[in-house]
């Protein structure tokens, strides 16, 4: 349970990270706005409250691991890593540029603090399962967190991995599903309905929680619950809003892979109280 000040601090951090995301996407002139903004509250709680990690030692063996399975939300990850101190905030301006360590999708060999390469949807949960197995074999108490999109679970490999995670009783694994309801071609429910998701993961023997993915306190509570769960992996279904925080981006599939223009950026920053 977070105290009121801690919640306010994390909310302020998430707001600041939204600003960073919008600025870096505007600077890159390409990239994924909507899904980065929907995921940032969950990722703020992970990076600045929940996970054990050490920005001065990115390869610290006892760190918790994070797999951004929905790799196109890389800007959200980079904003967190820069804020945590893995690299300079100035680097964010180089997103997607030739020679930059900030690739369009996360690259473990280029960016300090990135634990796996992701971007091709549907593969992250499998890698998270393998990481959880490796940590358990090594006798480590570290945990593995992975963030998936709701469009992403249309990939069959996700269900192969869901089966395996429960089969191997990986209680050091916690997946969070950023359920913003939209994918490139439109509403997830219309493109290929993945619901009901809770019962699906329950059916695969996961511990399943549902939260408002923009409620810092609720997210923190769910992550605590996951950590206390024994004998099964946890899926936290986070109900989110694509483009959250910038009114003219919210609920719009058309902003899945579109960066803010200069004008949109200044309006968005004004809205976020950052002019």
């Amino acid at each position: 349970m977070l105290n009121e000040d801690a919640v306010l601090d994390l909310e302020a951090t998430a707001r600041q990270l939204r600003v960073e995301i919008l600025k870096m996407l505007n600077s890159a002139r390409s990239g994924h706005t909507g899904g980065s903004l929907s995921a940032i509250d969950v990722m703020t709680v992970l990076y600045f409250h929940q996970m054990r990690h050490d920005p001065s030692n990115p390869r610290w063996e006892d760190r918790d691991r994070f797999v951004l399975s929905k790799g196109h939300a890389a800007p959200a990850l980079y904003a967190c890593l820069a804020e945590a101190g893995y690299f300079s905030r100035d680097d964010l301006k180089t997103l997607r540029r030739l020679g930059s360590h900030l690739q369009g999708h996360p690259d473990m060999n280029k960016t300090p603090g990135v634990d796996v390469c992701t971007g091709s949807l549907g593969q992250g949960l499998s890698q998270a399962v393998g990481l959880a197995m490796a940590l358990r074999l090594s006798g480590k108490s570290s945990r593995v967190y992975t963030l998936l999109g709701d469009g992403e679970v249309q990939e069959g490999q996700v269900w192969e991995a869901a089966m395996a995670a429960a089969h191997f009783k990986l209680d050091n694994l916690c997946a969070i599903l950023d359920m913003n309801g939209l994918q490139i071609d439109g509403e997830v429910a219309k493109v290929m309905n993945v619901g009901p998701l809770g019962p699906k993961f329950l059916g695969f023997n996961w511990h399943v929680l549902e939260v408002d993915g923009h409620d810092i306190q609720a997210i923190a509570r769910a992550l605590d619950d996951a950590e206390r769960t024994e004998g099964q992996p946890t899926m936290i279904i986070a109900r989110t809003i694509k483009g959250k925080g910038v009114p003219f981006f919210e609920h719009k599939a058309s902003y899945h892979g579109v960066p803010p223009s200069d004008e949109e950026l200044s309006q968005a920053l004004e809205h976020l109280g950052h002019s």
């Binding site: 063996e61 691991r65 797999v67 690259d107 473990m108 060999n109 634990d115 796996v116 390469c117 971007g119 091709s120 549907g122 593969q123 949960l125 499998s126 890698q127 998270a128 399962v129 393998g130 990481l131 959880a132 197995m133 490796a134 940590l135 074999l137 090594s138 069959g156 490999q157 192969e160 991995a161 089966m163 395996a164 089969h167 191997f168």
Partner: protein, 313 residues
């Protein structure tokens, strides 16, 4: 008559030995552990063996995660499923991040036999060879397989190792000094060179003996490492013998023949004949019948040698 050992049997034994020496070695399979021989490892090290069930994509992803967590995973299934079903997982989750995973694909080529074309991989070497960061090995026999598995474990990075189902003659009778990227001259010769991989090396040695009776001197160069390829050894053979016959239990498109032709056309063009499947899928039959039907016997290699010598003149 030399001893006959299936390369998959040699793999199973080598993996158990590695497991005894290094607790970071883990094995994965996709419900074929009895056939791929990873069951031997699973029996001795149950806590380090993960059966993914019939889910090859997830098996590769789990192997990637295990490697990212510091383990040395060996993931096995049939070649057709490894290089085929799980291709994109191998690309994105293993090769792109250069993770330390060994994909040991058994039942490669057409000598899988009776299961038919659906289960015969005639394109896996080409597919895997095209991947940046990927090392591709195709041992000739049991001893070389054991050595290749050991070399792969000692090398840090993704490796694809293609093995077979059937028993094959031992070529490296005195043991094998295997190194990734290095080929072996198994027989000297001056008129032409057989450049071969996998079980075709044994056929080439037989073909060279037949040719010798007709006063044709054939060199036999075995390349157990398809990528990296021993470019120096290939060019040396071309310079010294002036003609090359490649042979592989694989399509002539993109595999050993393709790789050798790339090297020769850029470095020292000489006449080449490629022995392999002529851009066709396999079919049901016994291993011996299939090798004969698709032109992969010592006799066919002799004919290819005669054709290449005609081109040389």
């Amino acid at each position: 008559m030399s001893e006959m050992i299936a390369t998959r049997d040699a793999y199973g034994k080598a993996l158990v030995e590695l497991g005894r020496e290094n607790s970071r070695v883990v094995a994965l399979d996709a419900d074929l552990s009895g056939s791929t021989k990873t069951a031997m490892f699973g029996k001795e090290f149950p806590e380090r063996f993960f059966n993914a069930g019939i889910a090859e994509a997830n098996m590769v992803g789990m192997a990637a995660g295990l490697a990212a967590g510091g383990m040395i995973p060996f993931a096995s299934t049939f070649a057709v499923f490894a290089a085929g079903r799980a291709f994109e997982q191998i690309r994105q989750s293993l090769a792109y991040p250069k993770l330390n995973v060994k994909v040991v694909a058994t039942h490669g080529g057409i000598t899988v036999g009776e299961d038919g074309g659906s289960h015969q991989s005639v394109e896996d070497l080409a597919i895997m060879r095209a991947l940046p960061n990927m090392t591709v090995l195709c041992p000739a026999d049991g001893p070389e397989t054991a050595a290749a598995i050991r070399a792969a474990a000692a090398y840090h990075g993704p490796v694809y190792i293609r093995l077979g189902r059937s028993k094959v003659p031992v070529v490296f009778e005195g043991g094998c000094d295997f190194a990734i990227g290095r080929g072996a001259t198994l027989r000297d010769g001056s008129d032409l060179t057989f450049i071969t991989t996998g079980l075709m090396t044994a056929q080439a040695l037989d073909a060279a003996k037949i040719l010798e009776e007709g006063n044709v001197s054939a060199r036999v160069v075995h390349l157990g490492s398809i990528k990296p390829l021993d470019v120096d050894l290939v060019l040396k053979a071309a310079r010294e013998t002036g003609a090359v016959v490649t042979a592989e239990e694989h399509s002539v498109v993109g595999g050993l023949g393709g790789a050798v032709c790339e090297v020769l056309s850029e470095g020292y063009p000489v006449p080449v004949e490629r022995v392999g499947l002529r851009d066709v899928f396999g079919q049901s039959g016994t291993a011996e019948e299939l090798l004969a039907h698709y032109g992969l016997t010592a006799g066919h290699l002799v004919e290819a040698a005669e054709r290449v010598l005609q081109k040389k003149k």
